[in-house]
Symmetry: C2
Subunit: 146 residues, 2 copies
């Protein structure tokens, strides 16, 4: 097995948690994180998952990865706000159920299904109309230059 | 009125939102944020409020303030984990109800009142026993060198 001594290298055996894989579609890979889009049409909802084996908390990451994740988080927040023109961003690392470190970046509207409550567990997920999730992902990719 | 041209200076007219003031006790001031402790005894719960007038989103802050806030967030997360030896950290910037930018850093236990749900709106707040909140705040101050 090839060793990867630098924290900035991808963890060789990193795999996306199956629950996160089931709930999302891939958007692209940033330097540290895999960017995903939730299949729940209730809210435009992105997730950043650092490709680092065993990371559960942000503070588990090496300092350089931590800084890069936080940079990616603000970059993705700018993009999501610009693409959706939302009323509010909700950004959170919770992970009580799926332990693999993931950061939610959610676009909220004052008229969305859960407003003003947080989105987690608020209302059942709703499927996108055919093509709509692809369009959202394409807009995010364009804005991020992916 | 004295002008404060540098983003790293405190906003001259910044005031803590009255709802945040009512729900917390002050812990101390970091370079950018006022650190607060929630009065809710259900979970050890800290909040970082950047002392910047008008900031609602993390991405509203000047880049230098953004970096410092994210640094303070990880520093406070380390401290909260070390003081509480919690099972999980929950870190979030939501702000759908109180718009003034604030970042929650919450220590979760697998046996706490809301586990595994997020804490917001999960169960009614519970008062600390006399002296217990002061002890928690003192431990946080010691660990942060405040």
């Amino acid at each position: 097995m090839t060793t990867t001594p630098r924290s900035a290298s991808a963890s060789p055996q990193w795999e996306l948690h199956p629950q996160l894989a089931a709930d999302t579609v891939p958007v692209g890979d940033l330097a540290v994180s895999r960017l995903l889009a939730s299949r729940d049409a209730n809210y435009p909802w992105l997730l950043l998952v650092p490709r680092r084996t065993g990371a559960i908390e942000i503070i588990d990451l090496e300092p350089a990865d931590q800084s890069e994740l936080l940079h990616e988080m603000t970059r993705v927040a700018h993009t999501l706000k610009s693409v959706t023109r939302c009323d509010k961003l909700n950004i959170a690392a919770i992970g009580n159920v799926v332990l693999q470190l993931h950061v939610h970046v959610v676009a909220r509207r004052c008229i969305d299904a859960a407003w003003p409550r947080p989105v987690w567990g608020a209302v059942p997920a709703r499927a996108y109309a055919p093509g709509a999730l692809d369009e959202f992902v394409a807009a995010i990719r364009r804005d991020l230059g992916l």
